[in-house]
Symmetry: C3
Subunit: 204 residues, 3 copies
């Protein structure tokens, strides 16, 4: 019998969960690019990814309860899994609402938003295997913070555009609900990075 | 002098706080069923329940500060009390806004929402006396999670209905503000369960 | 070489961060009082204050990573800095959105809201140097809670006024977005006080 390096399964499971975010953001980008009638099929695939994420989160919880020694505080591993799951939920919700509300065109700025989300997902997926050396992840959370600022900036401009005089208030409301999920997802990536930073502070 | 079982007062106080949620959800269900002119009286009673909840939260804080040995980490007991208090606030706010905004009919889906909230309150009230055996509460948080998913699903369908073309945007905005509190309350029950789960992870 | 009292730099840095909130709330009050064309210049000054706050938050993080003994748990000092930063963000966002959305008149109730925010900022700034005796800060968090209740009450009445029949739904949406930031800032002050209370519970 050989001993696995302690906690290696958590780094792998969190890496898998973060890899899911890469798939989900790519699908959401696709959904914003296809004609409205084709959105439902893409949303269905994104929803499957979200289910796979739920299974991963559950596996992480079970492992936490059955593992004697964990690489970080249990609460922090749990928080990481939960925050990654939150992002996946926001991405899935954005897709679901766009279909459900029969949104027309995605408003200008959507491309910029999706570029930010795809990049944040990549960074998060690259960071997870590096958790074993959490002190070296500073460049990760600095770029995630910059991306969140960019998403916030873009979000406000998108709303200002939507609020142009003469706009149909009901259409504005619908678009706002969807775009808000983009912004929440960008925030969510930052919350993942915040947990990583909390772990780094404890380890320092 | 006889010693009380350690921490028993906290389980009792949290059980009282959760019992308040049962009363509050039942009152909110009543409020959504009576004619609009009768809502104010029900909202006033719900507001009294909310005040009683504030007193309980305060008592828990005072006990935490004057008790040497607590059954769980002080922060977790404090978090449980705070999250229960949050739910009570959302229920009270829903009632207050419905009166204040002179909401017309509650939108379709309201009954389904209130059934979820009443059931979540019952489950939470049943779980609190069981905190002494927190490892056995898994069925509680699994059902709470399922209820939150149901509430989320219902909430989105309610909004999609509200956003039907031709709707009065101002009425939609008002209804959305109220219905949002239902959804926040359902989320809030999940956050209570999250704290219970955090405690269980620490104890395992 | 003389030793500094342990952790004194953290109390000073947090006091500086809280002093920034006094400046920011005063600027936001000014912005709501000047004619619309003059708002942009005030928003720019508020944005500079927000940048200075970011620098302070960064300094606190660096100090946390390079200090061996901290006066409280590292996570709590980090949380205090983060929650103060959140409030500054809400104040900055309120100003930014008012300019960006070309908001007309600020709705009735704005003066009352700004009085609450200015008072909460003063209280917070006075509390920070007192962190060394955190057990004596009860009057601070009691008043902050009362102010948050007042802000919440005012916020609801402001929305009820905005929702008057015949209102322009698009203008309501814009005003709501801005007023929401006032309410979030008032909540944010309470979240700062919550962290202080958490520290006090641990120290008791």
């Amino acid at each position: 019998m050989r001993l696995k390096p302690q906690g290696s399964q958590f780094f792998q499971l969190l890496a898998d969960a973060a890899a899911n975010l890469v798939t989900a953001t790519a699908l959401l980008r696709d959904l914003t690019a296809v004609p409205p009638p084709d959105r439902e099929a893409v949303a269905a695939r994104l929803h499957e990814v979200e289910h796979a994420g739920d299974d991963l989160t559950h596996t992480i919880m079970v492992e936490l309860n059955s593992t004697f020694v964990t690489p970080f505080d249990r609460e922090d591993i749990q928080a990481l899994a939960a925050r990654i799951d939150d992002v996946l939920d926001f991405l899935d919700t954005a897709a679901d609402l766009a279909v459900l509300y029969r949104l027309g065109e995605f408003p200008p700025g959507t491309d910029a938003m999706l570029r930010v989300l795809c990049r944040a997902a990549e960074l998060t997926a690259e960071a997870m295997p590096g958790l074993a050396k959490v002190g070296e992840l500073e460049p990760y959370w600095i770029e995630i913070n910059a991306l969140e600022n960019e998403a916030d900036h873009t979000y406000r401009r998108m709303l200002a555009d939507l609020f142009q005089p003469g706009a149909d208030a009901l259409e504005v409301l619908k678009a706002k609900e969807v775009v808000e999920q983009f912004e929440l997802a960008a925030d969510g990536f930052e919350h993942v990075a915040d947990v990583v930073q909390t772990i780094a502070v404890k380890e320092s």
